[in-house]
Symmetry: none
DNA sequence: AAATAAACGAGACGGTACGTCCCGTCTTAAA
DNA sequence: TTTAAGACGGGACGTACCGTCTCGTTTATTT
């Protein structure tokens, strides 16, 4: 039952965004009763993020090759590709919901944003260990610089979100984060 | 009258975000009637962005010094400082509204986002002309890289938005955009 | 509008009693919206008694002949006849509602029961003035004795409510309330 | 188990009337499960009257002295006294329930009202046999006249239900039912 | 100065969705 | 096999806003 509800919730969010995402609509599509939904989730915000986490939030992982920077770049390109489609709609709906529903925002942060940032941090630390990235960098800022623009383009869609764009973005940011030649030498020494 | 309404709209948006932003509340606070609001704006989305553009959207301009890069960085720091406060609340409310109200989104883009990006582009072009920035860079991507994270931190507030943070961000991004030494030399030639 | 609502409320109460008396049903039948009903009445209890008072509560008046006792008796017979039909259904619904809704009960008392008792009291006072009734009688008890059984048969319908029955009832009660022969003589003196 | 449930049902009915009388509340108070209640009673109406009959419906009997009229009067006074308290609350709840639940009404009539009327009839027949009451009287009407007002004051509480009041009521009604002097003489003959 | 147009206030109206409460049915695991 | 536990579909409640609408009342404008 819960699964059918979550599935329906997700589909509605993907297809119609926040405005079509009604408890009644979820109930109808899932073939359940409104009361069954409220039995499990306290309100529409909670249901929305639960649906997202259960169904959509397919974790896009990091490949592991010799180059951590290349790994992150390729993951970002994949993220942009995926978020450029239906998932982006869902995410923007969730963020919108979060603006007037602090609990939903909290749940989105704790359930999705922060864990994903942790993964990113791990990948970047490999880059530092590698010598591909400067060691003195503030990783939180780097993650903001890499992924912030992706969220930005989802939420403020002034232009489409494509993997090419994400590739350029990664290149620009990483270009600034390489160790200075001297550092590389000393690191090698 | 219109001014009082816009002012009230803005204050409510700043103070309470989307949830407190009710046509009724705006009418009450502005001392007007609901019907007067609907005479001038077709719906709450339109009123919200009108209020923002009329009152809050104090354009944060770019200083003009010898270094365009420094100019942009200092503007970004100022933006982060300002958006870290009430204005951020308003902006996030507008973006949220935009997710279920395409016209509001359009108005936000046309009335605020795109013009601001144009200004940024001008400043960056000065940097290219200066030789501070590589000439082959895609400015739209650069603007996304610089400002995207700011919007991201407004909308997905996993950590506070401060001017220090914005400074680091600018540094990291601009570090990757400097011309290669050879280019600089040839440019000078 | 209000009139259409009250009319619909009444019809539903008469036809289906409390169980069919739903705000939704009233809205549908009256061709209005639920919200319009709630604009005017705070809850279903208030609507029920308002409907009754506005539409059904046709005051059954007292004839005025030489004999006040005969007047009351004939009014009671008329009341029994009327209450034995649809109006009785409405009244029983209202009393039932009142058991779990103190405000509705209060409204029923103040809006209907007490005023009707006042009228009865006036008629009975004529009987005392006439010499048809003992002067030392407690009129509240008399009214209870005369009309209580009618309500009882509405609410606890162990047998039908007919005007013949009401006539007998009036006879029995009034038989006990005539002045003693001596009193009549002295009154005449 | 059943006993605990009935007891809890009764207490709730006495304490809170119909509105607090919820299957859930009965289950909680009796320490049983909702399903156990539904095993034994088909719905809340049935449970309510079962609780009443099992626990509260303490039969208030008729004393047997030389005067049947005095016996009935004293029983009425006792009834008024008892019904003026918690039991009255229960009864009004049951009647209310009966208005939208024909089976509950039927059960109340068959299980309580009609049997009590039979008892009353027996007492009154003694009065006729005694010569205290006219022989040609319709006992059903008399019973309505005597007890109807008590129910009326329970259900339409325009004034408190006291034993003094019931005493007056009995006096007034019985005053009209005494045999005419001639009849008494002829009866004696 | 009178006529006329506009903007205004007040607020009713039909509607949609919310979240709550309770109903009566049902399945399941433990005692 | 009776019980406790509790999920399920369903229906009504009362609330909060939405956007539309009518209707008199100012307030200005224009003749």
């Amino acid at each position: 039952m819960k699964i059918a509800i979550l599935k329906a919730a997700n589909e509605l969010l993907e297809e119609q965004g926040l405005s079509g995402f009604t408890i009644d609509a979820v109930a109808t599509r899932s073939g359940t009763a409104r009361s069954s939904i409220y039995r499990w989730w306290p309100n529409r915000g909670a249901l929305a993020i639960a649906g997202f986490l259960a169904e959509t939030a397919q974790k896009i992982g990091y490949p592991v090759t010799a180059s951590a920077v290349a790994d992150v770049k390729s993951q970002m390109m994949r993220v942009a590709e995926v978020y450029g489609q239906k998932v982006g709609r869902t995410i923007s709906a969730l963020v919108a919901q979060g603006q007037s529903d602090p609990e939903a925002l909290r749940a989105l942060l704790d359930g999705y944003v922060l864990p994903r940032r942790e993964e990113a941090k791990k990948a970047l630390l490999r880059g530092i260990a590698n010598g591909e990235l400067r060691a003195d960098v503030d990783l939180d800022v780097v993650i903001d610089a890499l992924y912030g623009p992706i969220w930005y383009r989802i939420l403020v869609p002034h232009a489409p979100l494509t993997s090419e764009w994400a590739g350029h973005l990664a290149d620009y940011v990483f270009d600034g984060l390489r160790p200075a030649a001297a550092d590389v030498l000393s690191a090698r020494a």
